[in-house]
């Protein structure tokens, strides 16, 4: 649940980028950081393993200015995608307000996407939440692989695998090129903020 400070009229919204390892979660945040530097007053915090893997999490805070008299602050997090870091993933999910599920479009990553979504559901349940309660946006990342001759999953297959029950907004994207990265973020902020609206008195 978002942190709302009635005294300082400040709302902190936590959005977590979830998904399988090497799916492009950190690349999303790096792109956003480079594009939105003026709105991001602090450095992006990122802790990586050698070889470009996220070891702990990335953290990117940004301000949206004042809406209805409240200063809206967005905090973007990624989780480590590697299977073995589940304790960290679970911890990062604590108090999550909105989710972006970054799925990898490469054909050979199909199982990892499905497993990661199941893992998300399991970890949310530890906080008494489920996928249907938390605003979510799917991002089918790495669509550019097709142009390099690497087979990608058809979007219909990804929708059927991941989103056939949730029916959440979904975008084809290439985080590396920045395609639909901002659109994904706008969508999740919009949907998340709407669910918080009634709390802002």
């Amino acid at each position: 649940m978002a942190f709302i400070n009635l005294k300082t009229k400040e709302v902190q919204v936590k959005i977590v980028y979830y998904g399988p390892g090497r799916g492009g979660k950190t690349t999303n945040l790096e792109y956003l950081y480079n594009r939105l530097k003026d709105h991001i007053k602090t450095e992006m915090v990122t802790i990586k393993t050698q070889g470009d893997r996220t070891l702990f999490f990335d953290f990117l805070p940004m301000g949206l200015g004042e809406i209805k008299g409240y200063h809206i602050k967005i905090q973007l997090y990624t989780v480590p995608g590697q299977v073995k870091y589940n304790a960290t993933r679970k911890l990062v999910l604590m108090g999550v307000d909105g989710l972006v599920f970054v799925a990898d479009s490469a054909v050979d990553r199909r199982k990892q996407n499905i497993d990661s979504l199941a893992n998300l559901q399991e970890n949310l349940s530890a906080y008494g939440k489920n996928l249907f309660e938390v605003p979510m946006v799917f991002q089918y990342n790495k669509r550019d692989l097709a142009e390099k001759g690497i087979p990608v999953l058809p979007v219909e297959v990804m929708e059927a695998d991941l989103n056939h029950k949730l029916k959440a907004p979904a975008f084809e994207a290439s985080a590396l090129e920045g395609k639909n990265v901002i659109k994904t973020l706008k969508e999740i902020i919009f949907n998340t903020a709407l669910t918080l609206e009634h709390q802002l008195v």
Partner: protein
């Protein structure tokens, strides 16, 4: 919250998001619709990432990835002799690193990087056949020189090893001799202790 304020919140939020993100999009890429300004992907992006990972640290995972990416490129460019030769050089270097791992020649990383940069230049700049060959020859010369220095290092290390190496037979003899000596010392000590005991009695 009544319907009017609902709509007002929604509109304010939507406008704010458009304001924040649209402004940034036009600043950086000169266009207003971020998802429409798609950069062309580079065919060697995967290999580039593998080269950089390997340069960062030689791990099994990074080496495997590098070899896989190089093989993918070999397949993709199999009709072009110049490109194929570049990728064969990279593959040979990958296999060498795989075999030697952390003991690989310190110049390996630099050679992989320079070969990769040359093949990228050939692909990117659309050079003529003669210029392509020039760059290829440069990479081949560097590769041959590297090979020679690896062999020279091996040759240099080999005689040193034979000079200092002790034949197995000698080791066994020395150990036996040492064992016998310890045994006889023990016998002497036992005899001395028995003698002292006798005197005390």
């Amino acid at each position: 919250m009544d319907a009017n304020s609902d709509a007002s919140f929604r509109d304010t939020l939507k406008n704010r998001l458009d304001e924040v993100f649209q402004e940034e999009s036009s600043d950086i890429q000169g266009g207003n619709k971020e998802d429409e300004s798609v950069k062309a992907s580079h065919p060697l992006d995967g290999l580039k990432s593998a080269v950089l990972s390997l340069e960062w640290e030689i791990t099994q995972e990074n080496v495997h990835r590098f070899i896989k990416e190089t093989k993918d490129c070999l397949k993709r460019y199999e009709g072009d002799k110049v490109f194929s030769t570049f990728f064969q050089v990279l593959l040979a270097l990958g296999k060498y690193v795989h075999k030697s791992m952390k003991n690989a020649h310190p110049a390996t990383g630099a050679l992989i990087k320079s070969t990769f940069e040359n093949v990228t230049a050939v692909i990117d700049t659309g050079l003529g056949e003669e210029e392509k060959r020039k760059l290829l020859n440069k990479s081949l010369a560097a590769f041959r020189q590297f090979k020679a220095s690896v062999l020279a290092k091996k040759r240099k290390a080999a005689p040193e090893a034979s000079e200092t190496a002790v034949p197995e037979k000698t080791i066994k003899t020395v150990l036996m001799e040492l064992g016998n000596r310890i045994e006889s010392e023990l016998e002497k000590m036992k005899a001395e202790i028995a003698d002292i005991k006798r005197k005390l009695d």
